[in-house]
């Protein structure tokens, strides 16, 4: 009887920890990652520098959208990695989020510009439609469809574990 009791307590505990081990090791366990596909929302916003109107038709092919702001410290941490990515010919479009124009430009001058161009979203309109909750966030877009969304800092590990599998699966960025 007491043996059974002891075995039960130990067995349940082991089961418990095994479950969490499996759960954590599962691919989908990246709390910031989301792979639900949806269409790129329609929008009309200005380019940060030229004040030219940009809408959804100006975006084509496969690219990343990176949501950033000059007030966001994590964006600063992430920035170096984005510069690396753009050097590997991955196109990144910046979405400057709820930020003053001057601050944003000053920030880019200071830390470098990994972006093809930057959309200035002062009121967070496009960001709202994209489902952005803060900065930084990064989307993978292919031919007008959002295929991956990551909330938080993208770094080497996140790039390898979250973005690379889907990029390989879909065969993206091959022409570059």
């Amino acid at each position: 009887m007491t043996f059974l009791l002891r075995a039960l307590i130990l067995g349940l505990t082991l089961l418990f920890f095994t479950f969490f081990y499996l759960y954590i090791n599962e691919d989908k366990y990246y709390p910031g990652a989301d792979f639900q596909t949806s269409d790129m929302p329609k929008f009309e916003l200005y380019d940060l520098y030229s004040e030219k109107v940009i809408n959804q038709d100006n975006l084509d092919g496969t690219f990343l959208i990176n949501v950033w702001a000059s007030w966001c410290i994590t964006c600063r941490v992430e920035h170096g990695f984005l510069v690396n990515l753009s050097n590997q010919n991955i196109p990144i479009i910046g979405l400057n989020y709820k930020d003053e124009k001057e601050n944003a430009i000053e920030w880019i001058e200071r830390f470098g510009d990994p972006y093809k161009f930057i959309i200035h979203d002062l009121k967070g309109e496009l960001a709202l439609d994209l489902g952005v909750t803060g900065a930084p966030e990064t989307f993978l877009v292919s031919n007008g469809t959002l295929i991956a969304h990551y909330r938080g800092e993208v770094n080497d590990m996140i790039w390898k574990d979250v973005f690379m599998p889907i990029i390989k699966k879909e065969g993206l960025f091959k022409n570059d």
């Binding site: 920890f17 479950f19 759960y23 954590i24 709390p31 410290i73 994590t74 941490v77």
Partner: protein
């Protein structure tokens, strides 16, 4: 420079804590030199670590934005108080604080426990090992000492406005104090198992530390509940949020534990339960840390994170828990008592309630785990909500209260005998029935469970009033703090029952200068103001509220928009009366210019927190009286 010193000190103290663990487990613990060595090593290591934390606080106060974490979570314009509390507003810093508290418990234990205490060295060893585990977690996966290169920001970031609240600044520290406080009980039971001498009486000592930790835990949970009510605008006291649940589980286990301790500190029966519970309480506290910090569950509490943290914590907690359970299993025989529990004795009621509490913990765990298991297998998200928990908690808690009621008259190791004509139970049940009838017709309550809660709560309170009478007038010896704590329990179940049944809410759609009636109150929308705060703009709605008797008061709910992150927060307006709160929040403006306002009448909600305060004070005084008795 200072930040590097702080970083270095933490690394150094990690090494020293590890040495301390090695000394205590590898050298003979009966040698007074060894005990001195362990005790000294621990206190030196602790001092270095606390110094490291104080340097960190100094850097936060002086806006050293070279430190990445401080730059991310503090701002040059924040008042000093929030600069300090910004340290625990996110993962790395709060982990730092958590470990500081863990080592403080150890240091206080170390300081106040005489070196003759046979379990002292090993207990400190276990505390040191736990600290090392968390320190490595801090240093390897969540380093708060990281530096921004090359150019630090000038002003820092802005901490989340929701977190800029005095209550929130103290809620996490209180909760952490409670969680980690059970490390003493855990350490002592592991030390006891390792020593394997059944004659060592460790329960009495542990009771003191556990009561204090329990009081902190209760306080932390109550503060969190109060914060969600008035700052988050959730409008209630408990939401079965997963993170509330992972705080509730150690609380339930701790409550069972302190009761079990009072049995096994008198005789050696229930030792198995007590020991298992001491492991369970601490494991559940750690499990809470794992759930919150691995980001497995989305909630207001979760931290931004990466999976490595989850994996590390899981491995470390798994190691601690499984090792302790193996040890428990190995030493099972020294825990078994050949005394049998007399039926209907005080012990028997406490054992039954142990089982009932176990059921509650298990059910809560099921509620937390079920969505995870479901998601794992079917890849779909589901949530387990209040109906599940209510269906289980209400009947089981009431049943536990009934057994608790019988335990009032019962004695240690004796069968319960009630002389019906002499026992005050008759009078207290008559009084309880009268209250139930009064409440039923006064407030028109028909729900069985509400009436049952009021009945059982009143039975407990009135019965204890007789006990207090005996104590004050007849000078009969009794544990007065246990009485006040249980009166708190009686109040709690009555207040929860009434709150659940009577509270109501309604969304109004109202134009300026219009008025509307709800629950016999007239609400007049008097004015709408735009106000600029120091770092936000806000709209304030002024409502004049008039009750039936013609008394007027003003409620001004507010909505703020913070400049820096554009975050919108609602500030509730609450009118407090002894029996109910009138609680208002404003929502959005509609196209026709009218505003949506939400009005809630929350009955007896203050009584819920009041009963928690009663329990906390009782816990602290009981611990104090135990320590006086000991010395």
């Amino acid at each position: 420079m200072l930040i590097e010193i702080a970083h270095f000190l933490t690394i150094l103290s990690t090494g020293l804590f590890f040495l301390c663990f090695i000394f205590s487990f590898l050298l003979s613990s009966n040698d007074t030199n060894v005990i001195n060595l362990v005790s000294k090593t621990y206190s030196h290591s602790f001092l270095l670590f606390v110094l490291s934390f104080l340097i960190y606080v100094y850097l936060a106060v002086n806006d050293d934005f070279r430190v990445l974490y401080i730059a991310q979570h503090s701002n040059i314009n924040l008042p000093i108080f929030y600069k300090i509390s910004s340290i625990w507003s996110a993962h790395e810093g709060s982990m730092f604080l958590w470990i500081v508290f863990l080592t403080i418990w150890g240091a206080v234990y170390n300081f106040f426990t005489s070196n003759n205490q046979p379990l002292k060295a090993k207990t400190i060893g276990v505390i040191s090992l736990t600290s090392v585990g968390f320190l490595l977690f801090l240093l390897l996966t969540s380093n708060p000492f990281e530096i921004i290169l090359p150019i630090p920001p000038e002003n820092g970031a802005d901490i989340n406005p929701v977190l800029q609240d005095p209550l929130l600044a103290i809620h996490p520290p209180m909760l952490y104090m409670g969680y980690v406080g059970f490390v003493i009980a855990f350490g002592q039971s592991i030390a006891f198992l390792v020593e394997g001498k059944s004659e060592i009486k460790w329960e009495k000592q542990v009771r003191f530390w556990s009561l204090i930790a329990w009081s902190f835990l209760t306080l932390g949970i109550a503060l969190g509940s109060w914060w969600a009510y008035y700052e988050l605008g959730w409008g209630g006291y408990w939401f079965w949020d997963p993170v509330e649940n992972v705080a509730l589980m150690p609380w339930l286990a701790a409550t069972a534990f302190i009761h079990s301790l009072s049995v096994s500190s008198k005789s050696s029966i229930l030792r198995i339960w007590t020991l298992l519970l001491s492991i369970l309480v601490f494991s559940l506290s750690l499990f809470g840390a794992f759930i919150v910090r691995s980001g497995i569950i989305d909630s207001v509490h979760s931290f931004a994170n990466d999976p490595e943290r989850g994996l590390y914590l899981l491995a470390f907690i798994g190691f601690l828990v499984i090792t302790s359970l193996l040890l428990f299993s190995y030493r099972f025989s020294i825990l078994v008592s050949n005394k049998r529990i007399t039926s209907l004795s005080k012990e028997s009621f406490i054992s039954i309630n142990n089982i009932l509490f176990g059921t509650l913990i298990f059910s809560t765990m099921l509620g937390v785990m079920y969505p995870l298991i479901y998601e794992f297998i079917y890849n779909q998200k589901i949530s387990v909500g209040a109906p599940f928990y209510n269906a289980i908690f209400v009947p089981i808690t009431l049943l536990a209260c009934i057994f608790m009621y019988f335990s009032i008259d019962s004695k240690w190791q004796q069968k319960l005998k009630i002389d019906l004509f002499k026992n005050p139970s008759i009078i207290s049940s008559v009084m309880a029935i009268m209250v139930v009838i009064f409440v039923k017709y006064k407030f028109l309550i028909s729900d069985f469970w509400t009436l049952a809660s009021i009945f059982i709560g009143m039975m407990i309170i009135t019965r204890y009033i007789f006990v207090i009478f005996d104590y004050l007038v007849l000078k009969k010896f009794t544990n007065i703090y246990s009485i006040t704590a249980h009166i708190g329990l009686g109040l709690l179940i009555i207040a929860i029952g009434l709150n659940n049944d009577l509270s109501k809410e309604r969304a109004l759609n109202i134009q300026i200068n219009d008025s509307d009636f709800y629950n016999n109150y007239e609400f007049t929308f008097d004015n709408m103001k735009l106000v600029s705060g120091p770092n936000y703009d806000s709209v304030i709605a002024d409502f004049i509220v008039k009750d039936k008797a013609g008394n007027e008061f003003m409620l001004s709910p507010e909505k703020r928009k913070y400049f820096v992150r554009g975050q919108i927060t609602t500030e509730t307006a609450i009118h407090v009366t002894p029996f109910k709160d009138i609680y208002m929040t404003i929502g959005d403006q509609l196209d026709d210019g009218s505003w949506i306002v939400n009005i809630q009448f929350n009955y007896f909600i203050r009584w819920i927190w009041f009963s928690a305060i009663l329990m906390i004070i009782s816990g602290i005084f009981l611990a104090y009286s135990l320590s006086r008795k000991r010395s």
